[in-house]
């Protein structure tokens, strides 16, 4: 499933949202994320969530992909909400009996749970916009511009470049194992899974050797040349600042 999910992230470069400089997008998203997770009310995170979802639809993200993306966070949000509601607080809201036990929901817990759930939805929606509208390499270039250690960016680029290759190889090995009843029974499944993971490590070693040989022949000396970043335009800086200030104002008014 992960492969389909990842491969679906193909951005339409001509879309206006996708054309925004990744550095501007990332800075605005990070500023909004800080506002969302430091918020004490539910209105702002929910507003961010709804706007981000609308933006995702505007850039052409399908409902199916959104559902896939939000299934886990929604489940977590619901679980945290229930956990807080039933185990946190002192002012009872309602109670009911389960298997001879009295389970009570508390007002303060419900309030805290709703707040955390809204922050989860706000944060996840924000990242969805960034993820769906920006190619990975552009995001890494933006992180490099933000002074994230170059070696970390290099490793991320290598990982992304060869992720799909390894995923395909994993799929081939998995299908071969499955066709030979490798996943029948718990013990055999475990053994097959261990072999599959081991094969991937061997493939990673072998590929890293051939990649290095090919790269050295092309002048690789240990440093990955990143795309030279043009200086941000004044209009881009001004619009990012304006957007962040507007969001700060909105956050304090809702």
């Amino acid at each position: 499933m992960a492969m389909h999910h990842l491969k679906a992230h193909i951005c339409d470069a001509s879309h206006p949202v996708n054309r925004i400089d990744p550095r501007v997008k990332l800075l605005c998203a990070l500023a909004l994320l800080v506002m969302v997770i430091s918020c004490r009310g539910v209105a702002f995170p929910l507003l961010v969530s709804v706007s981000s979802l609308a933006l995702c639809r505007y850039i052409g993200t399908t409902w199916r992909l959104l559902a896939l993306r939000f299934s886990e966070p929604l489940f977590i949000a619901a679980t945290v909400l229930l956990l807080k509601m039933f185990f946190s607080g002192s002012d009872p809201l309602f109670s009911f009996g389960v298997a001879g036990y009295e389970l009570a929901a508390y007002r303060e817990g419900l309030k805290e749970g709703v707040l955390i759930a809204s922050r989860i939805l706000g944060g996840v929606s924000l990242l969805a916009v960034v993820g769906f509208s920006t190619p990975f390499t552009d995001l890494m270039a933006a992180l490099s511009w933000l002074r994230v250690p170059q070696v970390l960016v290099d490793v991320a680029l290598f990982a992304w470049r060869y992720l799909f290759l390894l995923l395909e190889e994993a799929q081939v090995v998995y299908n071969a194992q499955k066709n030979r009843l490798g996943y029948v029974g718990y013990r055999r499944s475990l053994s097959s899974f261990g072999t599959l993971a081991g094969v991937l490590v061997i493939k990673a070693f072998d590929n890293s050797q051939s990649i290095t040989t090919a790269m050295v022949q092309r002048g690789y000396d240990g440093d990955m040349p990143m795309t030279l970043q043009r200086p941000l335009r004044l209009t881009e800086v001004a619009s990012a600042l304006l957007f962040i200030l507007a969001m700060i104002a909105l956050r304090s008014s809702v």
């Binding site: 956990l83 807080k84 290099d154």
Partner: protein
């Protein structure tokens, strides 16, 4: 009451491998980034140093990050919860490249998962990398080295490393989660509840991860022992007769 809630809570870790975006309030998110920073700095220094000696190491670490990503995307059925969970994969990364570089592998793997799969998040990247990358890697590496020093075979050491890396990751996650969501409530009861919630899936999953790690290490020993020598997991004296 805790017992009544266990079936409800036990599903959490099955789906929530990492702490989701937005769960931690700003001050806790920032705190875990600060705690993580020195480990990342040391990892960066270590990788820069070793990749100067061998140019293939940086691509190798990238590919291992991809492997950890794939391993942690593979669901494993957990009978006690009647659902699926997945291993961490940092135990084997720590065995092969050491715990400091394994922190970088976990960070990259978690970054890709956060950006493109909504597993974890950017605000919780510090916390998740600390639990999976720092705690998991060091626990796995120390367990492996300890078991080998005590005379354990590669399979036994691999099993112990995978088991402890997984359990330590979840103990750290439970701690981070309890501190982050407790609000006005007291810490200890919530921590106990979160740990109890993790138990039904993580007890068996830790054992599964141990078995898988042992399987991976022994497969490498059988098929490509030269790689284990290169990564200083075994010495040349320990090479099998056919190698």
């Amino acid at each position: 009451m805790t017992l009544v809630a266990l079936p409800l809570l036990s599903a959490t870790p099955a789906f929530a491998m990492h702490i989701s975006e937005g769960i931690l309030p700003f001050h806790w998110a920032a705190f875990w980034y600060l705690v993580l920073a020195p480990f990342v700095a040391l990892g960066v220094r270590r990788l820069n140093a070793i990749s100067r000696e061998d140019l293939s190491l940086k691509p190798l670490v990238g590919l291992l990050a991809a492997v950890v990503f794939i391993i942690s995307c593979m669901p494993i059925p957990v009978p006690t919860a009647g659902t699926c969970s997945h291993p961490c994969g940092t135990g084997v990364a720590a065995i092969l490249v050491g715990p400091l570089v394994s922190v970088l592998i976990a960070a990259v793997s978690l970054l890709i998962q956060a950006l493109f799969l909504a597993h974890g998040g950017l605000s919780t990247l510090g916390a998740n990398t600390f639990s999976m990358g720092v705690v998991g890697s060091f626990a796995g590496w120390l367990a492996f080295r300890g078991a080998r020093r005590l005379g354990g075979s590669l399979a036994v050491a691999g099993f112990v490393a995978g088991l402890l890396a997984d359990w330590a990751t979840y103990a750290a996650t439970a701690l981070i989660l309890s501190l982050g969501i407790r609000g006005e409530a007291s810490f200890t009861p919530l921590f106990v509840k979160v740990v109890l919630a993790f138990l039904p899936t993580q007890l068996p999953l830790g054992i599964l991860e141990g078995v898988i790690t042992a399987g991976m290490v022994t497969l490498l020993y059988r098929k490509r022992p030269d790689l284990l020598v290169k990564m200083r997991v075994i010495t040349e004296k320990e090479l099998p007769a056919h190698a």
